[in-house]
Symmetry: C2
Subunit: 237 residues, 2 copies
Amino acid sequence: MIQFYAPDINETLTLPESEAQHCIKVLRTRIGDTIEVIDGKGMRYTCRLLDDKPRHASVEIIERFPVLPVWRCHITVAIAPTKNIDRMEWVVEKLTEIGVNRIIPVKCRHSERKEIKIERLERIAVSAMKQSLKATLPEIWPMTPIDKVISELNATQRFVAYCDPTIPRLSLAKEYNPQSESVVILIGPEGDFAPEEIKAAIDAGYCPVTLGDNRLRTETAALVACDTFHIISQLTQ
Amino acid sequence: MIQFYAPDINETLTLPESEAQHCIKVLRTRIGDTIEVIDGKGMRYTCRLLDDKPRHASVEIIERFPVLPVWRCHITVAIAPTKNIDRMEWVVEKLTEIGVNRIIPVKCRHSERKEIKIERLERIAVSAMKQSLKATLPEIWPMTPIDKVISELNATQRFVAYCDPTIPRLSLAKEYNPQSESVVILIGPEGDFAPEEIKAAIDAGYCPVTLGDNRLRTETAALVACDTFHIISQLTQ
């Protein structure tokens, strides 16, 4: 099944031009054919193509139905973007694919990357959402300072993952409660969080965790953390 | 800590030229300096550099000690290589980083890629092993037909993961027993295993599994499966 992304389909009844190009020029969809359209907000629409000009690909909605995420817990991954942008783009693709609700690029003291353009990350998330047959786009925040993330995010459980072995850590797999309605996990930069950042998170109520005994890259840690939430949740289903 | 890879260090007492180049030209290590060397077979050596010519970087071994994997279960991931080679290279990097003992590229009926050069995959695994501070290189097999994989691999638990919802599947997270000494997981190609391949695996005693309700790409499925073994094991530690 191919899904087209049209965030405003319900109002405009028209595909955005890039999606229309793909639909009409590449896949050769014709007037009267039916297509599946998602809005990134949890709705899927079965539509009939009324006009096959890429600049004005209008549709008629035949059926609309909600496509809920397959996981129940609202997951936020707050991650210091990697120096190598490919690795950050990769993690956005993979987090979207395995299932996440919100991705927050975090600026830390040891961050190798202090700025990030989120438009490209959003395009990657759209592509991964379509490919993995979801209908909800993860929310991607602009770069946010760590102190703001720590103080402003609320969740049933909040975790901070780091490498520094001198500050005691618990096991994320054991601490995560699959009944939690929402979780936040903070993942530090290549050089780890500064000790005062870890302390600030713990003082604010974050649970200090390790993801296991392996040394993981930043982007791998984000993925393993998100996998941990999904896998532990499956045990109770 | 930087690790250099010299598979025959114990016999040759010399760094391979590419490693010696990095050690001497890039990192400017000098005669008398100590370096850490791994052999990919589970041993780490603290060495003193005796000669700083890149073509003949001889060393003296000061200390040798075993570095065991941090996981106890022997993990084999048998995966149909993706059409896009970048995705296959990426999964080799990530599996090595999160911890795997053996990677087997599998040729299936629906495989998009029928041949693969493993030399480049081995270089990627070496790099990931060094970076993640391991001392054991995963074994990488050449491309192997699915029927050979099914009939020849032995393990305490063997799993076949697929998408086809018409053949009943269990949950990998629930079925994996963290007391198992060894596991094998089969991951199919982009177009999934053929039904007769799934049947052959089940007939041979493989447990049919799903990795959850998400639709995952081949390379993501391999990573999530390997994560499942590690995360479930952590619950019993």
